[in-house]
């Protein structure tokens, strides 16, 4: 296993939620989206979060990524507590230490593929590492599409640009929210293998929310959520095992 591109860190835990609760509404209408969750995400691992609709999986991801705030509890990225960070600090954390892949419309329509890939660096005012960029472009296989605008790319190609963007800044952790939700199975499989190899070959850490057992089978570990609580987890999952577990959960 190579360690190319991984930042030296002090802990083996990339992200951690401690007693994480998220409550929407008040009184009768109160909804506990997250109900005292404790979970660690190991560095250099590909973790999938699964659960039925309304289980709180997306909320957990958003809170881990600093896009949303907890009602109570703590979130750590590495050893930084982001649940206590200011809006300004969060922006810097997102820009420098976190990568994102969303379900769709991941790209800025006015920027071409390579500009989209290097956007976080442009925003930070730093120069992208040429060799690293070349390496990633080759991995996602978009060499001949670099100057294309998003609307000139297929859905799969757009997601590959999104993956490349997430990898470009060598973040400590990448959060992916249903990255294959809008893709056909072939393009989806392609994206998932890129993500898998990013973890195996580049030493990346990825946390992905999905409802697709097939997608979850690419992960090293699956965490199951129901009603805002962690109900189970599974190491080295297979699609069938995940599917069975999901059926039990009523998803």
């Amino acid at each position: 296993m190579t360690t190319t591109g991984i930042l030296p860190t002090s802990t083996a835990i990339a992200a951690r939620a401690v007693d994480a609760s998220k409550i929407y509404g008040t009184g009768e209408a109160q909804v506990r989206a997250l109900d005292g969750i404790n979970v660690d995400f190991a560095r250099n691992h590909f973790t999938a979060i699964m659960g039925p609709s309304g289980s709180g999986k997306s909320t957990l991801l958003h809170c881990l990524a600093g896009l949303d705030r907890l009602t109570s509890g703590q979130i750590f990225l590495g050893d930084v507590e982001i649940s206590a960070a200011s809006e300004k600090q969060l922006t810097l954390i997102r820009r420098d230490r976190v990568g994102f892949i969303f379900q769709s419309y991941n790209l800025i329509p006015t920027l071409n593929a390579v500009e989209n890939m290097t956007l976080p660096m442009s925003l930070a005012g730093t120069r992208p590492d040429r060799d690293w960029l070349n390496k990633i472009v080759d991995i996602v296989g978009l060499r001949d599409r670099l100057s294309h605008r998003p609307n000139e790319l297929s859905g799969g190609q757009q997601q590959r640009v999104a993956v490349a963007r997430a990898l470009m800044s060598r973040p400590e952790i990448i959060f992916a929210d249903e990255p294959t939700g809008n893709l056909d199975s072939r393009a989806g499989a392609e994206i998932l293998s890129f993500m898998q190899s990013a973890v195996r070959d580049l030493g990346q850490t990825i946390v992905m929310v999905t409802h697709d057992p097939g997608a979850a089978s690419y992960a090293d570990r699956v965490v199951f959520l129901a009603d805002g609580k962690i109900v189970d987890e599974m190491q080295a999952p297979t699609a069938d095992a995940v599917l069975d577990r999901m059926k039990q959960l009523g998803g």
Binding site: L67, K88, T91, R94, R95, F102, Y105, I108, P120, R165
Partner: protein, 860 residues
Amino acid sequence: MGRVTIKGLLAKKFRLALTSLAVVLGVAFMAGTFVLTDTLGNVFDSLFAKASQGVDAVVRSREPFKADTGPGSNNQQNRPPVPENLVDQVEQVKGVARAQGVIQGTALVFEKNQKDFVQHAAPTLGVAWFPKGQEVAQAFQNVEGRRPADADEVALDRKTASDGHLRIGDPVKVSFLTVPPKVYTLVGTFEFGGDENGLAGATMAAFAPTEAQRVSDRVGRWDRIDVRADPGVSQTEVTDHIRSALSAAGDAKKYQALTADAFAKEQADTIKDNLSFFNIFLLVFALISLFVGAFIIYNTFSITVQQRARELGLLRALGASGRQVVGSVALEAIVVGIFSSLVGLVLGIAIVKPLEGLFSLFGADLPSGSLQVEARTIVVSLVVGTLITFVSAISPARRAARIPPIAALREQALTVREGRRRYVWGAVFGVVGVVMLFAGLFGGQNGTNSAILVGVAAFCVFVGVAMLSPLIARPAARLLTWPAARIKSVTGLLARQNAMRNPRRTASTSAALMIGLALVTFIAIVGASLKSTFADAIDNEIRADFVFSPKNFQGFSPEAAAAVRRELPGSTVVQFRGGQVLVNGSSENVTGASSNFARVADLKLRNGFDRQSYDGGGVVAYKDAEVGGKKVRLGQTLRFTFPKGEKDVRVAGIFTDKKALPGNGDYVLSLKDWSLFNEPLDQYVLIVKPDGTTTHQAESTIKRIADRFGGISADNKADFKDRQLAQFDQILNLMYVLLLFAVIIALIGIMNTLALSIYERTHEIGLLRAVGMSRVQTRRMVRGEALIVAVFGSLLGLAIGLLFGRALVAALSDQGIGFSLPVGQLVVFLILAGLAGLASGVWPARRAARLDILRAVNTE
């Protein structure tokens, strides 16, 4: 369908408010203009009605001729006075109870310090007040003290007295047009028509009748005669009796009688004529604001139709016809239009007072009265506001009809492909506009026609450029952002891309600002050209150490010039006057000048000037002056009609340069014949000091003389120039302020467009924020786009303003106007417009930065 529209509108109240604002401001401006001028008209109606209280008929001289030298030309009173004995003659007529002479003179009242005079930029009247029980007109009321009984006493209207800090018993200095100033004793104060503001800002000094005649140069004469009828005799009856009597005496050619009501109406109408000029002047600016508003409406509707493509597509898919979709958008426009017009109307009434304040800031104190909201104001405001909104929304509405049902299912908003037709039409408008501009300026039209042609030309050019400008919006945005590109500012580049992604939107947003900037540039260029030409003329074509000019607009006594000749012997003193005459039957402005005018003003006389002939009552004609379609020749005899009679005048010379002359007349007339005018007043006196005197000595003598007369500014040449240029500046500044309305509307447009664009790009902004764009960067990006749009529009406006300004100055070149480009001023305008653009981006930028990332990312 209707319900869907209304509900949709209410759901987006905020957008509705912002869109409406563009129309609201324009309508408010228009409604405010109407209310203001109606209110002023009403003030004068009641003023003249009060002035004729107790009067049943009026007898006066017939007007010798009606001078008409265009709008705004000074309306000189051409009617000669009537002889005193006519009063007795009228009093004998059947049905007449009493006839009484009236003096309508000028008297400048000084404050208690006897240095500054009381003035409210309105007429300064001097009148006769008859002993108690004898007067016909009952205008003087609420008297304190008593009326003037002899030649050393005066009464003042209460406001003038209090403004001048004068109390009964105080000495009051009053100066007059033709006789030297005199110190009176204040014996009484009064209110005109029973109202302290009854004089609409004028000052009034009342004298004993014979003293009033003396100070107004009316010894043995009256300006007119007021008549009171016997009890039971109507205004018409007594007027008819007087008419028959005048005919019987063979005086019907010289004098005329009219009812007091008709007289009051005529006086009010004369003022209202001037008001209508003022009204049109303001309405032009209101229309400009509405025109700019139209662009905003067009733009907003275009954007919302595009944004609602899915919704409209769904309506189509559910079975709505194209016509129904057009109808729903059109209905939306009409609702917005009616709503905005109503709000605008109310706001318009509310801005009348601030508008008056604005004018008083520019030295024009308008008399105030109760606000007059006429039905016409309401109807015109509602119709124009609604119509403009509707018309502006037609093209976006028609585009809505072309949205296919499939749009409902498409993920991304339709990108509108620009047809070639738009550009063809744009080019047609542009070309027609430029052709009309040149036809208007160089086609030999009269003033009004050419102004209308140029106005329509401007409209066409604005529309044409707005239609064509998407073509250059992309390259322009690229060019304008090269500094951002150079420093590789990602926010700058994103702003550039955003401005470039929909060139049509960028273009029509900036078009609104373009109009404002074009007009500002146009005014700046024409103003600078006139000013520099004028300054140049004073510098190079006038030789004078000192200049007398009137502090108010009526001129001053020729005695001032006589005093200078007397007290500064050896000096060159040249008097200039202005008046209106008929030359061979057609109205002309003439300038009067002392025979030694050539010593101070270089008119570039052609060879053959016959000074002796000029001195003996001749005229010098401009080289292009025409009579009956033929150019005036040297030695020719012209028939001049003056207020007091006709005279043949020989052309003693031809001059080729008007710039050194006050006024714009084609004729310079010897002062010898000026006695044929009713009021022989000087407008300027140019003075060259005698060789042996120091400037200091001469200046103190001259200032002393001016002080003695009051109402005269005595300046050295440099100060005189500054004073004249300051008057130009005041008018220019007023126009800038009025254009500010249009510019503000344009800025609201930028704000509105950006807000809508941000709404459209919610997801994208969320994404940018998610991958690490800070709030500061987000704001910078949006403001950057605002800046690009503003600067683009300003540059287009600058170019159009330059074209129109340059063309107008070229058209005026035969009057000696030289082109001057106020580069510094234009740069300042450009910078200000850019800053204003930035400012208009502040609020949308803040909105964009405040977007909740999570929700934004999940928005499609």
